[in-house]
């Protein structure tokens, strides 16, 4: 049998988790829509999310058991790798949309509203007196006057935290390749702590923005791009940190070998991706 698993591609049979996942997604979507429309409370949304979490436990558990049972050959491993790489690429495109919206607003729509270039008539006829200078909540001053978060305070600290976490996850990888499990778990947990610290600091930043700076999601195009970009990023950091935690627990349980540790690498790639997105955020949202 062991010889067979080396040569044949493992094709699972009777997958029950996908349909559970579909039900979860549907409950979350319908529940979310009903909640947004004010028709019901958020309970159906939460139920859907709970089903999705249950599905992930079950599905990943099944895959981990198969993997630890030696049913995956090199080729299966390659398929998983390709899956993760292209998934991350799709995430890159998702963030690109919101960066695109930011660049468009700063380079085109806001200057045009201020009467620049071909927007002369727009500025003169519709929004006379509006200067179109970034940061802005638009000519109608939506959400009222606001202040922005200075780049070289908390955001700089967060940048250092994420860069450090990129380093610690790499150290964990080196430890794994040298079969040093103690160091592996240690560096992984350090990365998790850094990740959650980042999320905590982001949360305090949001609270400060809302309560002291009057910077909200409703603060025109600045608030929209600021919170959507940092919000989706923060969500990804949270998910990434949870994934790292799962990897750390698996490492403690003796999973992964210096040769076979796809899950570790996938999560590390994801973490680096989140890191790179933050650098772009730090430059384009906070500094410039």
């Amino acid at each position: 049998m062991s010889q067979a698993t080396e040569s044949t591609y493992y094709v699972p049979h009777l997958a029950k988790w996908p349909i559970v996942g579909s039900v979860g997604l549907t409950l979350a979507a319908v529940g979310g829509a009903l909640y947004l429309n004010g028709d019901t409370g958020p309970w159906l949304l939460y139920a859907g999310l709970a089903v999705i979490v249950y599905m992930m436990f079950g599905w990943f558990g099944e895959v981990i058991a198969e993997s630890e049972g030696g049913m995956y050959n090199q080729r299966v491993d390659t398929s998983f790798r390709m899956g993760m790489i292209w998934f991350i690429f799709s995430e890159v495109m998702f963030f690109a949309v919101f960066f695109g919206a930011l660049f468009y607003a700063r380079m085109f729509s806001v200057p045009w509203l201020g009467g620049e270039g071909t927007g002369y008539a727009t500025g003169a006829l519709l929004w006379q007196g509006y200067e179109g200078v970034w940061p802005t909540n638009g000519p109608a001053n939506l959400g009222g006057e606001f202040e922005t978060i200075p780049a070289f305070g908390l955001p700089l600290i967060n940048t250092l935290i994420l860069l450090t976490s990129g380093l610690t996850v790499t150290l964990a990888h080196h430890a794994l390749k040298k079969s040093n499990r103690r160091a592996l778990v240690g560096w992984l947990l350090a990365t998790v702590v850094l990740g959650f610290t980042f999320v905590y600091l982001q949360a305090t930043e949001y609270i400060e923005a809302y309560h002291e700076l009057n910077l909200t999601l409703g603060s025109g195009i600045y608030g929209s791009t600021f919170f959507m970009l940092t919000g989706f990023h923060g969500l990804h950091v949270t998910l990434g940190a949870i994934m790292l935690l799962v990897i750390a627990i698996r490492a403690m349980r003796g999973h992964f070998t210096p040769e076979h540790h796809f899950a570790f690498e996938a999560v590390a790639w994801y973490w680096h991706f989140v890191d790179v997105v933050w650098l772009a955020l730090f430059i384009f949202v906070y500094i410039l």
């Binding site: 028709d39 998934f87 949309v97 025109g220």
Partner: protein, 536 residues
């Protein structure tokens, strides 16, 4: 032939017993392909029913059957159902069925995820279609969902956005699976430049899908937050811009039209050589042309926005870039024609549909070039000329290719030959009525009839009547197709493993119907079985 027998001792070859196990929990690429195809067919009829109500209303000027708002809901959901529910899933179904067989793989690379990709779709469409029964009805701002109009939708906004998110998740997972399968699961000897063109076009399509479905997800997310959370992405008062939406949407939307047509190019490139009994002319040129079209598709999006107001440099750039696409597309058309040139042609149903595709898709391509000319587009924009253009491309293009593919591979799937005589009836009824349906719409558009309108000025009466008659004949002719497929699945003359004398490719080396599990790992590839790469 040897590998056709190797799986006889495979104990996995029995199909799982019971409906739930066979269909709900399946990981088999053929069963999932079947599910996709059946789902697509159902959506084709749901979307088609909406189209018929639209044509019924437009049979005469004035309002006879539906109210304007419901009419707008129909045009909106008709498009969403046909694009995301019928054409895309149909091609994914074909990919599921054929790609593993064509490259000698045991199954798709990620079989469980394959199941999930499919089983999201029925739920997503249940959510979208349920909006018809809500307060305020279904989305009515057109499938392009432009703000600010779309933001005035009622409760359907959130349902529409989440349904599109689910479709996007499904498409992205399906695309990832196809890429991983093509790159990682080819049998030894199945080099890249020996792959069937259908596999090539799908590989490139999958890349497009992963690149642009997240862009659509982002666009509708901004609609969601603008509607429910007070953001200002598309609100000029807050410094945003509704035109921003159009840029984002069409950055997705233009590659999307190639997502709908590139697999069709692949299908046609399989069928024409088989019935011309000649290898495809210019195989490598076809591959490069496909890649060029895919690349160009990312830099032409604003040709949908010529009339919206753009700097002159933008109008010119997008005009020229768009016309550039005619070159690789022309390469394809000429290659298909050259393949038929001096071939020993026979005209079974798949070939008839393929030839109709070449002719009629080219008409759609030409009207596309007319629309690409910015100053001319100022006249055509948002008229029935546009409607005629994209229906030539998508109905006589994508849908015809899907039907051609079904006739071509149905004997391989079911083990039975279809009824050729009935299939010819289906073809001639369809190909005549579809032109009666869409050709007059060119004239309507050139004369100035706007699209997405339930009523019209009386000078448009005749062509609208003709178009509506064509629509009903075309629509009801498709029932013949359903009957034919059903009959072939039930029984009929036994199909040989090769089915078509001139057909090449690994799928024809296995018995018909194809066994539940076709190939083991490392299936031997015999160059003589392949359509490409054996000549030199």
């Amino acid at each position: 032939m040897s590998h056709a027998t190797t799986h006889e001792h495979d104990h996995h070859d029995e199909k799982p017993k019971g409906f739930v196990k066979r269909w709900l929990l399946t990981t088999n690429h053929k069963d999932i392909g079947t599910l996709y195809l059946i789902f697509a067919l159902i959506m084709f009829f749901i979307g088609g029913a909406m189209a018929l109500i639209i044509r019924l209303e437009l049979f005469q000027p004035g309002l006879q059957f539906v109210q304007p708002d419901f009419f707008n809901q129909l045009t909106t959901v008709h498009a969403l159902a046909m694009i995301f529910g019928a054409v895309m899933p149909a091609f994914v179904g074909l990919a599921n069925w054929m790609i593993p067989m064509m490259i000698g793989a045991p199954d798709m690379a990620l079989p469980r995820m394959n199941n999930w990709s499919f089983w999201i779709m029925p739920f997503a469409f249940a959510i979208l279609l349920s909006t018809f029964f809500m307060d305020g009805g279904a989305p009515a701002a057109g499938w392009t969902m432009y703000p600010p109009l779309v933001l005035q939708g009622g409760k359907n906004v959130a349902f529409m956005v989440f349904a599109i998110h689910l479709m996007g998740i499904s498409s992205i997972m399906g695309a990832i699976n196809i890429i991983a399968t093509v790159l990682n699961m080819r049998a030894p000897g199945m080099d890249f430049l020996k792959m069937p063109l259908f596999v090539w076009t799908w590989l490139i399509t999958a890349f497009l899908l992963i690149a642009v479905m997240p862009v659509l997800a982002g666009a509708v997310t901004m609609i969601l937050t603008d509607h429910y959370f007070g953001t200002s992405f598309f609100n000029a008062a807050g410094g945003g811009d509704p035109v921003l939406y159009q840029h984002i949407f069409w950055f997705f939307g233009h590659p999307e039209v190639y997502i709908l047509i590139l697999p069709a190019f692949g299908v046609i490139s399989e069928i024409i050589p088989a019935f011309a009994r000649k290898p495809l002319f210019g195989y490598t040129a076809m591959v490069y042309a496909t890649a060029s079209i895919a690349f160009l598709s990312f830099i032409v999006w604003a040709h949908h926005m010529f009339t919206v107001g753009m700097p002159l440099g933008g109008e010119l750039f997008f005009m020229y870039a768009t016309m550039l696409i005619a070159i690789p597309t022309g390469v394809k058309i000429f290659n298909w024609v050259s393949t038929m040139w001096q071939g020993a042609m026979t005209f079974e149903a798949p070939m008839l549909w393929a030839i109709a595709f070449v002719v009629l898709f080219t008409i759609g391509g030409f009207s596309g070039i007319m629309l690409a000319i910015a100053p001319a587009d100022f006249q055509y924009h948002d008229t029935y000329f546009v409607v005629a253009h994209f229906h030539y491309v998508l109905v006589t293009g994508a849908v015809f290719a899907i039907i051609a593919a079904v006739y071509y591979w149905l004997p391989k799937w079911t083990g039975h030959m279809y009824d050729e005589k009935l299939a010819k009836w289906h073809f001639w009824l369809s190909v005549i009525s579809v032109n009666v349906l869409f050709f007059p719409q060119h004239f309507l558009g050139l004369a100035g009839m706007p699209r997405r309108i339930p009523d019209y000025a009386t000078q448009f009466v005749e062509f609208n009547m003709i178009s509506s008659i064509g629509a009903f004949v075309f629509g009801f002719s498709q029932l013949l197709f359903v009957y034919l497929v059903w009959k072939t699945a039930k029984g009929g003359e036994k199909a040989s493993s090769r089915v078509w004398k001139g057909a090449k490719g690994l799928e024809w080396t296995v018995p018909s119907p194809a066994p539940h599990h076709t190939f083991q790992d490392n299936a031997p590839v015999n160059d003589a079985d392949l359509a490409h790469g054996s000549a030199h």
